[in-house]
C-alpha cells in the first residue's frame, strides 16, 4: 500500500478501537484522576517544564502504549501500517506535532477525546482548529502541490 492510495473503510473495527481508547481514558480518570492526553502524559513522563510531577504511572502508560502492537502480533493478529517515507517531511511533522501540542496544551486525545467528553469549549476550539489545519495541509500537499 502506498500513501495516497485507498484504505478500506472499517466502521466496526474503528468504532470498537475507539471504545477501547475511551475506556482507557476512563481508567486513567478513575485510577489517577487525570486527563489521558498522550502529549501531556509524555511531557509529565519526561519531566518537562510546567508538566505534572506524578511520573510513575505515566512511564508505565507509555510502555503499555508501545507494547500494544507487539501484544496484537503475539496473539496472532496483524498490524497494518504504512508510514510516509519522506524523512525530512517526517522530521518537520514531528517537530510541529510536538511543539503544537505543547503550546496548545493538548492533542487528539487530550483535547479530542477527553476534552470533548468533558464538554470543554476550549477543547472544542482546539479540535476544530487542528482538524481544519489537518484537512487544509493534506489538501495543499496532495491536490495543489501535486503528488497523489
Amino acid at each position: 500500500m502506498e500513501i495516497g492510495s485507498e484504505t478500506a473503510f472499517t466502521p466496526w473495527a474503528s468504532l470498537f478501537g475507539g471504545v477501547l481508547i475511551g475506556l482507557s481514558a476512563v481508567m486513567v480518570m478513575a485510577l489517577f484522576g487525570r486527563i489521558a492526553g498522550i502529549a501531556g502524559i509524555a511531557q509529565g513522563a519526561l519531566g518537562l517544564p510546567g508538566a505534572a510531577k506524578d511520573r510513575d504511572w505515566r512511564w508505565a502508560f507509555l510502555v503499555g502504549l508501545v507494547l500494544a502492537p507487539l501484544a496484537v502480533m503475539a496473539l496472532g493478529g496483524t498490524v497494518a501500517q504504512t508510514v510516509p517515507d519522506n524523512l525530512p517531511g517526517m522530521a518537520l511533522a514531528g517537530l510541529l506535532v510536538g511543539t503544537g501540542t505543547a503550546i496548545g496544551s493538548g492533542c487528539t486525545s487530550g483535547h479530542g477525546v477527553c476534552g470533548l467528553a468533558r464538554l470543554s469549549g476550549r477543547s472544542l476550539a482546539a479540535v476544530a482548529t487542528f482538524m481544519a489545519a489537518g484537512f487544509a495541509t493534506v489538501f495543499v500537499l496532495r491536490h495543489i502541490l501535486g503528488g497523489a
Partner: protein, 146 residues
C-alpha cells in the same frame, strides 16, 4: 499498583489505536483527504472514544476521589487564547504532513518504520521546545516552530 494500572491503561489505549486503524498514518491521511481518497473510519474512532469517555467520566465523577490518587485533576482553564489556537494549528499541520498524532507515534515505535524513527524523536524535541516556549511566555510561540 499505580505502575501496573498505568501500564494496563496504556496497553488498552494502544490496542484501541491499533484495532481502530488510528495507528496507521495512511488511514489518518486519507481521513484528512476529503477531496481525494477519503476514508471516514476515523470519525468512528473519535465518536466511539468520546461517547465512551463521556459516559464513563460521569460514572467516575460520582466518586469523591480517584482510586489511586488523592484528587481529580481536571483542567480549569476555559480561555480560548492565542496559544491554544496557534498550538492547535501547528499540531494540525504536522498531523497532515506525517499522519501521526502523539499516541500513534508511540504505538508505531516497535514496528520500526524509518518514518516513525524520525518522527518520534522530532516530536519529543518539539514537546520540549513547546514547553520551554510556554514556560517563557506566549509571544515567541510562532517563531519557535518556524
Amino acid at each position: 499498583m499505580r505502575v501496573l494500572w498505568g501500564f494496563l491503561s496504556g496497553l488498552v489505549f494502544g490496542l484501541g489505536l491499533v484495532i481502530s486503524g488510528m495507528a496507521n498514518p495512511a488511514k489518518v491521511l486519507n481521513f484528512l483527504d476529503l477531496a481525494g481518497t477519503w476514508d471516514p473510519s476515523l470519525a468512528f474512532v473519535m465518536g466511539g472514544a468520546t461517547l465512551t469517555a463521556f459516559v464513563g467520566y460521569r460514572l467516575v465523577w460520582r466518586r469523591k476521589a480517584p482510586v489511586l490518587d488523592r484528587t481529580f485533576d481536571i483542567p480549569k482553564n476555559r480561555t480560548i487564547d492565542t496559544s491554544l489556537l496557534t498550538g492547535a494549528a501547528l499540531f494540525g499541520m504536522g498531523w497532515g504532513i506525517g499522519g501521526f498524532c502523539p499516541g500513534p507515534a508511540f504505538t508505531a515505535l516497535p514496528l520500526l518504520a524509518p518514518g516513525t524513527l524520525v518522527f518520534l524523536p522530532a516530536m519529543l524535541a518539539g514537546l520540549w521546545l513547546g514547553a520551554r516556549v510556554k514556560a517563557g511566555g506566549y509571544p515567541q510561540g510562532k517563531g519557535a516552530a518556524s
